[in-house]
């Protein structure tokens, strides 16, 4: 192991981590290609996600408010990125089911880096589908989005999606030990996002729901995206808050998916089958 305290050692560690991440990204891309063809992605998956946005937007119609329709549509279109990131919970549990987890764990590589890089296609998929939705849905509904603001909105959405990805990796660490909880964790988190983060309903202002909303990815970033989309000037406050939340979940993910997993392997408490 190179000595991390020396500049050369630190460079070597970083270089190894980057190479490992690159390999993970390549295999992540291959996994995604095995899952979808261009035709099934565009005709199935993308159509489903656009319908998801439109479905929730019809709630605005039921509420009798064009403004609510637009706001719900924007929230749900932007949320496609962070919601897609939750897919890493299933794919990580899939490593266990397909018998590849053993091989990933017996290598000398850091399991956190390996597993985190193997699911990055979910973030990229989410960014792509969210971008398409944010471009297409305003053509159909009165979405409050100035097109010139779209690049800034997407940049913030990338940070939000990465934060959600870190939360999802934390859940993946739990789901690897308790695979029967996988669906409860992902579907429950999806509803938590929709309920607390200002996607479909307003962000709660007091009590435990407000405190939960503050530490969930999406809440601060979506508020900033809404402001930017409406033409307001850029504000660092929500951006820094979103980055802090992402960092918090990144640390949590490292603990559950890295340290705890290594300890489980060492002590033989991880049931692989």
């Amino acid at each position: 192991m190179p000595d991390r305290r020396t500049p050369a050692g630190l460079r070597a560690v970083l270089s190894t981590a980057l190479r490992q991440f690159g390999h993970g990204l390549i295999s992540s891309h291959q996994d995604y290609r095995a899952m979808f063809t261009w035709r099934s992605w565009a005709g199935g998956w993308l159509v489903r996600l656009l319908c998801q946005v439109l479905f929730f937007a019809t709630l605005g119609t039921l509420l009798g408010s064009a403004q609510a329709t637009g706001e719900i549509a924007f929230g749900n279109a932007a949320a496609l990125g962070p919601l897609a990131a939750l897919g890493v919970v299933s794919s990580t549990v899939g490593e266990r089911r397909s018998g590849t987890l053993e091989f990933l764990l017996v290598t000398r590589a850091d399991p956190f880096l390996v597993l985190a890089s193997r699911g990055l296609h979910w973030v990229l998929d989410g960014m792509l589908t969210s971008s398409v939705a944010l471009a297409v849905v305003p053509l159909l509904l009165p979405v409050p989005l100035q097109l010139t603001a779209l690049p800034a909105v997407l940049a913030v959405n990338l940070l939000v999606s990465l934060g959600s990805y870190c939360l999802a990796l934390t859940l993946a660490g739990i789901a690897l030990r308790h695979p029967e909880c996988r669906m409860y964790l992902t579907a429950g988190t999806t509803i938590g996002y929709l309920l607390l983060c200002g996607i479909t309903t307003p962000v709660p202002q007091d009590g435990l729901p407000a405190r939960l909303a503050a530490v969930l990815p999406i809440t601060h970033g979506l508020a900033l995206m809404r402001d930017l989309a409406a033409g307001a000037p850029f504000s660092y406050g929500p951006l820094l808050a979103e980055a802090a939340v992402a960092l918090l979940w990144g640390v949590a993910a490292h603990l559950t998916l890295g340290r705890a997993l290594r300890r489980a392997v060492r002590t033989g408490t991880l049931v692989l089958h």
Binding site: W45, V47, R48, L63, S65, C181, R182, Y184, A187
Partner: protein
């Protein structure tokens, strides 16, 4: 057949992950109810409660009931099942129907969430008609699960598209707003879709505005029967292909 139904109920009860859709999807009602309360549209509470119920029923059929045959294939019990003298197709249909029927109590669950959790005026004016329509709709949803089961055996990669079978159909069925607001070509397709009829009849039965519901119930029953027949025929054809070795059971 009773044995098949009992076995499926026991299998699901012993697999907590299979109950996840039933446990979590009804909670979408929390999102809908919160939006209504925020916009002071409490009068639409029953409508969104029924939306959450139908979403749960459909999701449970697509993600759990439709996987019954695929689970048999994965666990290696499909081959011996096909070799037994008993009719596997009938047993499978009963198992899929049993799994789907477990979604029916969600109707009471979402109504209770609205009433007790939010104090909303959720009410069912014609409970008898509502139960009949819910049962017919559940049968149609089970038929959809049979159709998907056949496709999952036949087409590799169908699992990836399983996720795509939710929201487009919720929109097509007008689960939140009636299909009248859909564009004309989509509306024409929706008129042939049993779930759209079931959703509208449920809303009308709940509101007490389903006067002369007889012909509409008959139309719903006919659409469900056609759907069920189609599901059984497709699955029978697929299982016949499996028996003759035209379809690979293992990747």
């Amino acid at each position: 057949m009773i044995a098949a139904a009992r076995m499926q109920a026991v299998l699901i009860a012993r697999s907590p992950d299979l109950l996840a859709t039933l446990a979590v999807i009804p909670l979408y009602s929390l999102v809908f109810f919160t939006a209504l309360v925020h916009h002071h549209r409490e009068s639409a509470a029953t409508t969104v409660a029924l939306t959450a119920f139908l979403m749960s029923l459909w999701s449970h059929a697509v993600f759990v009931a439709a996987e019954t045959v695929d689970t048999d294939r994965r666990e290696g019990t499909l081959e011996p099942s096909l070799l037994t003298p008993g009719r596997y197709l009938a047993a499978l249909a009963v198992r899929v129907g049993t799994t789907t029927a477990l979604g029916l109590p969600v109707l009471a669950e979402v109504l209770l969430i609205g009433r007790l959790g939010f104090g909303l005026p959720v009410r069912i004016a014609e409970p008898g008609l509502c139960l009949l329509v819910a049962a017919l709709t559940a049968l149609g949803v089970a038929a959809t699960a049979l159709l998907i089961s056949g496709v999952m055996i036949l087409v590799r990669g169908a699992r990836a598209l399983q996720n795509a079978l939710t929201y487009p159909f919720y929109l097509l069925a007008g689960l939140i707003v009636p299909i009248g607001v859909l564009p004309a070509p989509v509306r024409a397709v929706a008129r042939c879709f049993f779930l759209a009829h079931g959703a509208q009849l449920l809303r009308d039965a709940a509101a007490g505005t389903a006067d002369g519901a007889g012909p509409r119930v008959a139309l719903l029953a006919a659409l469900v029967a056609v759907h069920l027949l189609l599901g059984l025929l497709v699955l029978r054809r697929v299982l016949a292909s499996v028996r003759t070795g035209e379809v690979a059971l293992h990747a």
